[in-house]
């Protein structure tokens, strides 16, 4: 072998990619040449450096965000009454370290796994899981606030600090968003005002925890019901003050709540900001006033929303009242 080996040759040598003849030459050269031997050792160190490189752990909110997105996807495609079926694919036991069973040489076409195709989903393992959740939720969520109340009683996220008013729904109020101007995001008067925002629309947006589990088909109606309840309770006894902190676990899903609201509200002042659930997954429900006479609309925001990412899962107009 003439001259020294270059890194590419040595790397190929280490992967046994060279011909037998060439490999023998390199091997003999390495034994006699400290310089090339050092280069080979450095190649090994490249692998070691890559192996030691750390990466940030998965953000907690991401799991909830993806589960919510999957639930929304399932809801868009799967009837809530879909019967649960048996899971189809047997799980590989090799989940731990990269699937050591995956040596079957299966070589799919290049595009397999690339293009999202709308196929029948009878065997969808995810659909099975999500459909079960959806069906279970459909049983208890009739779309009305009273029914949603049933959820709050058992929801660990809503522990009864606000239950002093007897039959009153157990809404928790977080209070004005810290740092949010008292006049709202936009100092101007809210447009498209309706009766339901009579009381909630006069101060900074309140962040509440209604305990509602919003559903795709009744999103607008559920948001409207929560709003009406808030305005109703605002008349008599003092509107629930900023005394009750939200469950930390729920608020922590939206660490950038204020930036998120500014991002999605587009200068409008939210009528409702509800740390709630959507299809059983933690989500933020925001009601924005309608523009140009349109009805207010409810937005479902997945965890992870911040100043740059809105994470809007669904929107629905509020039903016209009266």
């Amino acid at each position: 072998m003439r001259g020294h080996a270059d890194a590419a040759t040595l790397a190929a040598f280490r992967e046994e990619l060279l011909s037998a003849r060439k490999a023998a030459q390199v091997s003999a050269h390495l034994a006699a040449c400290p310089r090339c031997a050092a280069l080979e050792a450095q190649l090994a160190e490249v692998t070691a450096l890559l192996n030691r490189a750390t990466a940030p752990p998965m953000p907690d909110a991401l799991t909830a965000r993806i589960q919510a997105a999957l639930a929304a996807e399932a809801a868009a495609r799967t009837p809530a009454t879909a019967p649960a079926r048996e899971p189809v694919p047997a799980m590989s036991g090799a989940a731990g370290h990269g699937g050591t069973q995956s040596t079957n040489g299966h070589r799919p076409g290049k595009d397999t796994g690339r293009r999202a195709r709308w196929r029948d989903h009878d065997r969808s393992w995810l659909a099975l899981r999500v459909a079960a959740v959806t069906a279970a939720v459909a049983v208890i969520a009739g779309g009305g606030y009273g029914v949603a109340q049933l959820l709050t009683g058992s929801s660990p996220a809503v522990n009864g600090a606000a239950s002093g008013t007897g039959a009153a729904p157990n809404i928790k109020v977080k209070g004005p968003i810290p740092g949010m101007p008292a006049g709202g995001i936009n100092a101007g008067p809210a447009s498209g005002s309706s009766s339901s925002q009579r009381s909630v629309g006069t101060t900074a947006p309140l962040v509440i925890i209604s305990g509602t589990n919003y559903q795709p088909t009744s999103l607008g109606a559920q948001a409207s019901a929560v709003l009406q309840h808030l305005s109703g309770s605002g008349n008599s006894s003092a509107r629930p003050g900023p005394t009750v902190a939200p469950a930390a676990s729920q608020a922590s899903l939206f660490p950038h709540l204020q930036a998120c609201l500014i991002r999605i509200s587009n200068g409008q002042r939210p009528q409702l900001v509800d740390l709630a659930h959507y299809l059983g997954h933690p989500a933020l429900i925001v009601v924005l006033p309608g523009t140009n006479g349109a009805q207010p609309k409810a937005l479902v925001i997945a965890p992870g929303c911040d100043a740059t990412t809105a994470n809007v899962l669904a929107t629905a107009p509020l039903p016209r009242t009266g």
Binding site: T112, W118, R129
Partner: protein, 204 residues
């Protein structure tokens, strides 16, 4: 649910392949939606782990190629920094974090195909056969991409040799990292690929 069962491994692949937590999060979400839609195409003739990995890797590669098409995007380093810098500067953890950032930056300069195999094989320790199954390529192709990628990385990691190895470093000079606060030196010069290497490479 399969996602929750595999999420940590899939996240590990995505965040290393893309080098940016936010993009990795988006890619993982895209991939899971995609997996959901394709689930009927899963026939059980490949391990479900492999199948999920393949979808995630492909989602990441799609993003890498899109990113390469618009190389003006920047700020990835800084965002990665925020998440990667949990420990106070001057500690072993901080030094290790800095080394990790350097390694990730160097890796980003490789073609996506080479990055993908090195993430799976060298970073995460997958076997060549597993990586081949995930990527849908032959084991020989995995090996040759690994070899070419390592050879290209070699000069770009030269400044890291002997550094960041807690076992070999002993009393490593702490002067490399400022000890004046919790912020890991955002402008650490060693984070940059040396200018001699940088010509013509897309900015990260």
């Amino acid at each position: 649910m399969l996602f929750t069962r595999h999420k940590d491994r899939l996240w590990a692949v995505a965040v290393r392949t893309l080098g940016d937590p936010e993009e990795a999060a988006d890619a993982l979400q895209d991939a899971m939606i995609s997996a959901f839609r394709q689930a009927s195409g899963f026939r059980g003739d490949s391990a479900v782990t492999t199948w999920l990995h393949r979808i995630v890797v492909n989602a990441c590669l799609d993003r890498m190629r899109r990113r390469a098409a618009r190389p003006a995007v920047s700020g990835l380093d800084e965002r990665a920094m925020d998440v990667l810098a949990p420990g106070p500067a001057g500690t072993d953890a901080a030094a290790s974090t800095e080394t990790s950032l350097d390694v990730m930056s160097a890796l980003r300069t490789l073609p996506p195909d080479q990055q993908a195999v090195l993430v799976l094989v060298d970073m995460l320790g997958y076997s060549v056969a597993d990586a081949a199954a995930v990527l849908g390529i032959s084991p020989g192709t995995v090996k040759s991409r690994c070899a070419r990628g390592r050879a290209r990385l070699l000069p770009r990691l030269a400044h890291l040799r002997g550094r960041g190895d807690p076992y070999a470093a002993g009393a490593a000079p702490a002067s490399a990292a400022p000890q004046d606060g919790t912020q890991l030196g955002n402008q650490s010069p060693s984070r940059r690929v040396s200018p001699a290497e940088g010509g013509g490479e897309p900015r990260l």
